[in-house]
Each structure stands twice: as structure tokens, then as C-alpha cells.
Amino acid sequence: MDRLLNVMTGLSALLILLVLFSVRRARIRVEYSVTWLIGAVALLVLSRSRELLHSFADLLGVNYPPLALLLIVGCVFLVILYRFSLIISRLKDDNIALAQRVAILEYHIQSIKEASHM
């Protein structure tokens, strides 16, 4: 059990460092890093605090606390994935609308140019 929790601590710490590093290098925008940081910090705290982890395990009705932690990890990542799916969908809609707008504006510019050459 200790080994699994230690691995989880290590992975959470690595995730926090990776996100901070990416934010510093401007590879990820601050607003999108917040979700990851909250998730990673929550996992770090849970993997280091046995009392908290046991409370969560009792709450979930799981006898083996690390299993509860894995369940929470799964849920956290599902929420993050869902949030990013929403963001990607919105960005794709915006992107399509922009591409169509650019094409239509270019069409109008072309029409004006052709009219002025006549």
C-alpha cells in the first residue's frame, strides 16, 4: 500500500512540476493549467494524508484505501477530459466560423477588385 501511495505522490509531484514548467514556457495557458494543478494537488494531498484517504475510502465503501485513491484519480481525469472536450468543441465552432468569415471576406475583396478593374 505504501509503495502505491508513494508512486502516486511521485506522479502528482511530477504532474505539478510539468504543468508549472509548461506554464512558464508559455506552452499551456494559465487558465487551462488551473484544472490540472487543482487535480494534481488534490492527489498529492490524498496520497500523503492517510486519515483523509481512509475517510474517502469509508465514504466510497471501499475497503482498500489505495483503490479509493485510484477511483478518485479516474474521476478527476474524467472531469478534466470533459472540461477540455467542452473547450475544444467551442474552439472548433469558433474556428469554423472564423474560417468561413475569412473566406467570405476574401470573396468580397476579390469582387471589389474585379469591379474596380472593369
Binding site: 468561413q100 473566406a103 476574401e106 470573396y107 469582387s111
Partner: protein, 245 residues
């Protein structure tokens, strides 16, 4: 009385159709002289744009590939902005017979329906199409029948005429991938009407269909989901009478 053709635009979505698009534009020009023809190029990597321009079509060139729905919607947006009352869409691969365009247009004018579909399977027979496609078409006929409240023989036809009311709706909301079937549901949600007219199909001028058996299965699942999402979507229903006023 002004010629209603002055309010019509022909839209040809095309993606890498250099072998066919020139012939399609010529055929449309011959059938409908004086009617503006706009080729919407979905960022082709071949000479589609140059050939379309060479055939004296206007070209709406998308800056990157959007897929069929995004491509067609761009054309609808342009037509709506330019004030056209009617748009007829003909595929850029040359499978639709341009000689059927007047029939679609006359039906659009006479019927008062918001959409006219050029149906390849007007008699209900799906002809010599592949088995999987035939099964798909029959399946969607069955699915759409209770949703639309009437049978549709060719729900996947890309030969479609729309009036300005439908143009307005499609300018705002149009399915991105495989749009034909979902577009019918979008219109139904607005209580718009459609009618089918029999149309001829020509063999592809060049290339081959990109729909593989695997893609067909993806298509069916994708469209089915899209149909039900559109059915469940909340739309403020507008009574037909108040729309006319």
C-alpha cells in the same frame, strides 16, 4: 415580373475535384445561363480552384479544410449575405445531372417548400449502389419516417435546393460532417417542409468514393447520434402562420 432566376445561386462544394469541377461548372452554366455559380473550395491541394475559375465560376476558397458541412454552410452564409432567395447545391464530383436543376428550381418556386431534394431513388429502389450503402439508406429512411412525419426516399442526396427561410436557418446552424440527413431534422424542428423530385445520377467523372465499409459504419453511428441530438435539441417552435407574416 422579374425573372426568379435572378434570385438564384448555384453552389458547388468541392474538395480535390480538379478532374470533375470544370465539367460540372460548364454543365450548370449551359443549363442555367446567367445564374451565378459559386464553387466552395474546401482547401483542395490540387488545381480545383484554378479550374473552377477557368470555367468562369466564382470561387469561395476556405483557408483550411472544414469538411462537407462547414464547406456547404460557408456557401449558404455567402448566399444569405448577398441576399439570394434560392440556392441549389450540386456536388462537385459530377454525379448530379445539371439538366435536373430547372426541375428542382421550379419545384422550389411552385411548392412553397423550404427544401427540395433531387432524389436518386424516387421510385424507392436504391439501384445499383453498394450493399452497405443500400442498407444504410433503407435504415435511415426507417429512422427518419416517424421524425419527419413523412417518408423520404433519398435522405443522403447532396442535390438540394433551399429557399431563403432555410438559408437563414442553415447559415446559423448546419451539421458539420455528413450534413444531409441531419439537415432534414434541423428543418423539421422548425416545421419546415421538403419535397423530393426524381433526378438522374451520372457516374463519377473522376476518382472514387472515399466511403469505405469501415467509414460507412462510422457514418451510420455518427449520423444516428446527430439525428437524435437534433431531435432532443430545444428549439423555439415558430408557428407556420407567423413565419409567413
Amino acid at each position: 415580373m422579374p425573372d426568379p432566376r435572378g434570385k438564384l445561386m448555384i453552389l458547388i462544394p468541392a474538395f480535390n475535384e480538379q478532374g470533375a469541377v470544370g465539367g460540372v461548372v460548364h454543365a450548370v452554366r449551359q443549363t442555367m445561363p446567367g445564374v451565378p455559380v459559386v464553387v466552395v473550395d474546401d482547401c483542395s491541394s490540387d488545381a480545383t480552384v484554378a479550374i473552377a475559375r477557368g470555367a468562369s465560376a466564382d470561387v469561395l476558397a476556405l483557408p483550411h479544410h472544414l469538411g462537407l458541412g462547414g464547406c456547404v454552410q460557408a456557401g449558404y452564409k455567402l448566399a444569405f449575405e448577398l441576399g439570394y432567395q434560392y440556392v441549389i447545391r450540386v456536388d462537385g464530383d459530377g454525379q448530379h445531372d445539371a439538366r435536373d436543376i430547372p426541375k428542382v428550381f421550379e419545384t422550389l418556386l411552385a411548392s412553397g417548400c423550404e427544401m427540395v431534394i433531387g432524389s436518386r431513388y424516387f421510385d424507392g429502389n436504391v439501384g445499383s449502389t453498394s450493399l452497405l450503402r443500400a442498407v444504410g439508406i433503407r435504415f435511415f429512411r426507417m429512422v427518419l419516417r416517424p421524425i419527419l412525419g413523412k417518408p423520404v426516399r433519398d435522405p443522403t442526396s447532396g442535390f438540394v435546393g433551399v429557399n431563403r427561410s432555410a438559408l437563414e436557418v442553415f447559415s446559423r446552424s448546419f451539421p458539420l460532417e455528413y450534413p444531409e440527413i441531419e439537415a432534414l431534422v434541423v428543418l423539421q424542428r422548425r416545421r419546415f417542409r421538403f419535397v423530393e423530385v426524381p433526378c438522374r445520377t451520372l457516374p463519377r467523372r473522376t476518382g472514387r468514393s472515399s466511403i469505405t465499409p469501415m467509414k460507412s459504419i462510422y457514418y451510420i453511428v455518427h449520423v444516428l447520434l446527430g439525428v437524435f441530438v437534433n431531435v432532443l435539441k430545444y428549439e423555439r417552435r415558430i408557428p407556420r402562420e407567423s413565419r409567413r407574416s
